[in-house]
């Protein structure tokens, strides 16, 4: 009878084995997700279209996705600098308070509408819509505010600013300068179904949060966009994204810093670029929610109190310690700031005393669970100088948004792909300055940087970097690197534009 039972078990095992073999018999994972030479499969680190397909709803992180279906007034060049795309040329008036854009002809959108100066005006007139976060760079009240947009002729658009601008084209580069078609402007619900752009690809199919398939439009230059199809696959879990890349389900993936060593050890080729700063953003520079933060010396004391080297070794492996507002590869990077704000408890205590808080103080910081470990590290550092930072962890996005108005500090990675734009749109005129604090030093430096061009730009950026740090509006801790893992049998090494954290779509070329 025992034999009979084993026989039964054997049959069960055989049945299971047959099932597994039949599942695997049809080939390896490649057959499950074909990736032929004319199809590029990209493993994305987030759902690129969680709120629909209006690119203006998003920030720089979604640029790589929207580059396929949209074009911008200025594209990001290989060096990260703006290159006219839908604008054919541009010029400033003498006072640099007006920018005139000449618009390209013969451009059509998915909905069949054509690019006109009037359409560009209609697009930019949406800038007061609070939902369109890509427009925050030139929002009302900011130093790079667009006061007015006019379309005096079919191919001319004139932007009028509230203050002089020297390099406003950087603000119209990438997602912020993207133009959506006429139909989408008239009825924004069109963009919940699919993109309405003039980009090199059109969307064929989409499974929300799972895959977005694009096919190249007829007439698109195949030497610039060599792949016939592009499939974007969002993998929210960094390990799932890594597994998909290692096993060949994706041709190229955005690899998380914490998994890059595993990727490399499993044969994934990697390219990297800096540009994302791990910053303590001082929301409250006026003391409205926490009086000590209204004092510059107190803010600087916190900066002196951070052992950035240990921070990187302990909780941010793969990053580089930095006290700079801008990344290492930025023209505005200043090595002297790293020395000036090196870890020094005595100096921190001195600054705290100078600010009127020799015995320290306490405050609360709210953050998502993903950065809890980083905050706990900083909590211990601040404790050493008598500052008690209470940590409140929440998964509520609503709450994370809300605390910007009620708490003095936040810990947020900031991608500095456009130094002037981010400073104007986030730090000075954006969500990181809810109490509308003003600093003549930062204001002047920002104005000069926005107004500078050519050889003067680097010096102006350096000055802006120093102003942000020395005024204590920003307390950088480290610079994080972005990694892209790719299969060298399918692709050549992709390249990053300037200090952008995402490769350019046009940099994906088939392996020779």
């Amino acid at each position: 009878m025992i034999g009979f039972t084993f026989k039964r078990l054997g049959v069960s095992a055989l049945a299971l084995a047959v099932a597994v073999v039949s599942l695997t018999a049809c080939g390896s994972t490649d057959s499950a997700d074909p990736s032929s030479s004319d199809t590029l499969t990209i493993g994305y680190d987030s759902d690129p279209a969680p709120q629909g397909f209006d690119p203006l709803l998003y920030g720089a992180g979604q640029r790589l996705f929207y580059e396929s279906t949209y074009q911008s007034l200025f594209a990001e060049g290989a060096d990260g600098q703006p290159v006219p795309e839908l604008a054919s040329s541009f010029s400033y008036n003498k006072a640099k308070t007006q920018m005139t854009l000449k618009i390209r002809s013969g451009v059509t959108f998915t909905d069949g509408s054509a690019l006109t100066a009037e359409l560009v005006k209609k697009n930019l007139d949406r800038r007061s819509d609070a939902k369109l976060q890509a427009y925050s760079g030139f929002a009302k009240g900011g130093s790079t505010e667009i006061k007015n947009v006019e379309a005096p002729s079919a191919d001319t658009v004139v932007l009028t600013f509230t203050a002089a601008q020297g390099s406003f084209q950087t603000n119209l580069m990438g997602v912020a300068g993207t133009i959506v078609g006429e139909k989408a402007i008239t009825d924004s619900s069109v963009l919940t179904q699919g993109p309405d752009g003039s980009g090199p690809y059109k969307m064929d199919t989409s499974v929300k949060g799972s895959s977005y398939t694009m096919s190249r439009k007829p007439g698109t230059d195949a030497s610039v966009y060599p792949f016939q199809k592009i499939v974007y696959k969002p993998y929210l879990d960094k390990n799932a994204r890594l597994n998909a890349q290692i096993s060949g389900q994706t041709d190229v993936s955005l690899i998380d810093t914490s998994t890059q060593e595993t990727a490399a050890s499993n044969g994934v080729s990697l390219v990297k670029n800096g540009g994302t700063m791990l910053d303590l953003l001082v929301f409250d520079k006026t003391g409205a929610t926490s009086k000590p933060f209204g004092n510059k010396d107190v803010r600087l004391a916190l900066s002196y109190a951070i052992d950035r080297e240990s921070f990187v070794k302990t909780v941010a492996k793969g990053a580089e310690p930095s006290a700079n507002a801008f990344p290492k590869s930025s023209a505005g990077f200043d090595a002297a700031l790293n020395t000036e704000y090196a870890f020094d408890v005595a100096k921190a205590k001195q600054a705290l005393a100078k600010g009127g808080y020799p015995n320290g103080f306490s405050f609360t910081i709210t953050a998502s669970p993903t950065i809890q470990a980083s905050l706990e590290f900083l909590q211990n550092q601040f404790k050493a100088i008598g500052v008690d930072m209470k940590i409140e962890v929440t998964t509520s996005t609503d709450k994370l948004f809300a605390v910007v108005n009620t708490q003095p500090l936040g810990f947020i990675p900031l991608t500095m792909s456009n130094e002037v734009g981010v400073t104007a749109g986030v730090l000075v005129g954006g969500f990181a300055n809810p109490h509308k604090a003003q600093s003549p030093v930062i204001g002047a430096a920002l104005g000069a940087a926005a107004n500078s061009s050519g050889a003067d730009a680097a010096a102006a950026l350096k000055k802006l970097n120093g102003a942000l740090i020395n005024e204590g509006w920003l307390i950088p801790v480290a610079e994080q690197f972005s990694y892209a893992g790719y299969d060298p049998e399918v692709l050549q090494a992709p390249t990053y534009p300037g200090i952008d954290g995402y490769p350019l779509l046009s940099s994906f070329k088939p392996a020779a």
């Binding site: 299971l16 049809c26 939902k131 929002a139 969002p234 879990d237 799932a240 096993s247 060949g248």
Partner: protein, 313 residues
């Protein structure tokens, strides 16, 4: 039987209603407002208030709930605050993913677990000890860890199965099964260990029953005694555990869905909660509750068929 079924169905409907009301109240009690989501990050208080009025958030709770319930009965769960898409069509895409995973994992754990459990019960020696220890080890392994291990071995190293993703059955049947193989193994192996333990205990108890001894004395073939009489006697707790497993898999496989990048209900629930997408949260809760109620109903019917005493209870 008809009265029993009617009673159970009525109770099921009440359960879904209570769960929907509770989820509705909890969503309202959780703070925040839908207007803050739809108006955008840079919206003013006035813009947020106007959005809340547009969305009906200013109306009395009872009115809001009854309005929502009326729509939900007509399969209209409203639209997502985040992307403006209908919630029901989105759930309709996601339910098959989670249901496939839960059904196959339950079947897999049932077949494997019952087979191993019976083998352990009828071979009370070395094999029993091996199975008991092995199932104990398997029970202690977290499903996500097992998932990571399976991906590493079978997908990354051996390249036998896809590491991630879901393919619809209608698109490519073979790839559908391939895409489910690893998640089902990850979920089903620990489930099989529980079933094996339950089956073994039930079979050991059944084989010691008076009527089984009588059947033996009458010379009934051993396979009939074991697989018809004893297994049926032992099956009630096994069926209950399988039902509970199915419910748990349907509502709680978030980590496995993330690990294998499966666009199922677990992922939808997590995203909805993270983004405070109130109508989507309610939609997922109602679907999950309905599945629990339906599964329990089927479970009760199966148990009633297995044991007439249950029907009389």
């Amino acid at each position: 039987m008809f009265a029993y079924l009617t009673r159970r169905l009525g109770l099921g409907v009440v359960t879904v209603l209570v769960a929907s009301a509770l989820s509705f109240l909890l969503v309202h009690a959780s703070g925040g407002s839908p207007g803050a989501i739809t108006a955008g990050q840079g919206a003013t208080a006035a813009q947020i208030a106007a959005e809340n009025v547009r969305l009906g958030w200013d109306r009395p709770l009872v009115v809001q709930y009854l309005s929502w319930l009326g729509d939900a009965i007509r399969s209209d769960f409203g639209v997502s605050l985040i992307d403006g898409h209908g919630i029901w069509p989105d759930l309709l895409h996601r339910i098959p993913v989670t249901a496939s995973m839960a059904i196959f994992a339950t079947l897999f754990s049932g077949i494997l677990g019952i087979g191993i459990g019976v083998a352990a019960a009828v071979n009370r020696g070395r094999l029993d000890r091996v199975i008991t220890v092995a199932s104990g080890v398997m029970l202690s392994l977290p499903q996500f860890w097992l998932g990571i291990l399976l991906v590493y071995v079978l997908a990354v190293k051996a390249d036998l199965l896809p590491a991630t993703g879901y393919v619809e059955f209608t698109a490519a049947p073979t790839q559908y099964f391939q895409s489910l193989a690893l998640p089902v193994l990850a979920l089903g192996l620990t489930g099989a260990a529980i079933i094996a333990r339950t089956t073994r205990a039930g079979m050991v108890n059944a084989l010691e029953q008076e009527h089984i001894r009588t059947l033996r004395a009458l010379g009934t073939p051993l396979w009939r005694i074991r697989y018809l009489h004893a297994l049926r006697f032992a099956s009630a707790p096994v069926v209950s555990v399988l039902g509970i497993q199915f419910i748990a898999l349907f509502g709680g496989s978030v980590i496995i869905e993330q690990l294998f990048a499966l666009p199922g209900l677990g992922q939808a629930a997590q995203t909805a909660i993270d983004t405070h997408d109130f109508p989507s949260v309610q939609g997922v809760v109602v679907i999950a509750t309905a599945v629990v109620v339906l599964t329990n109903l089927i479970l009760d019917l199966v148990l009633a068929a297995l044991d007439p005493q249950v029907r009389a209870a």
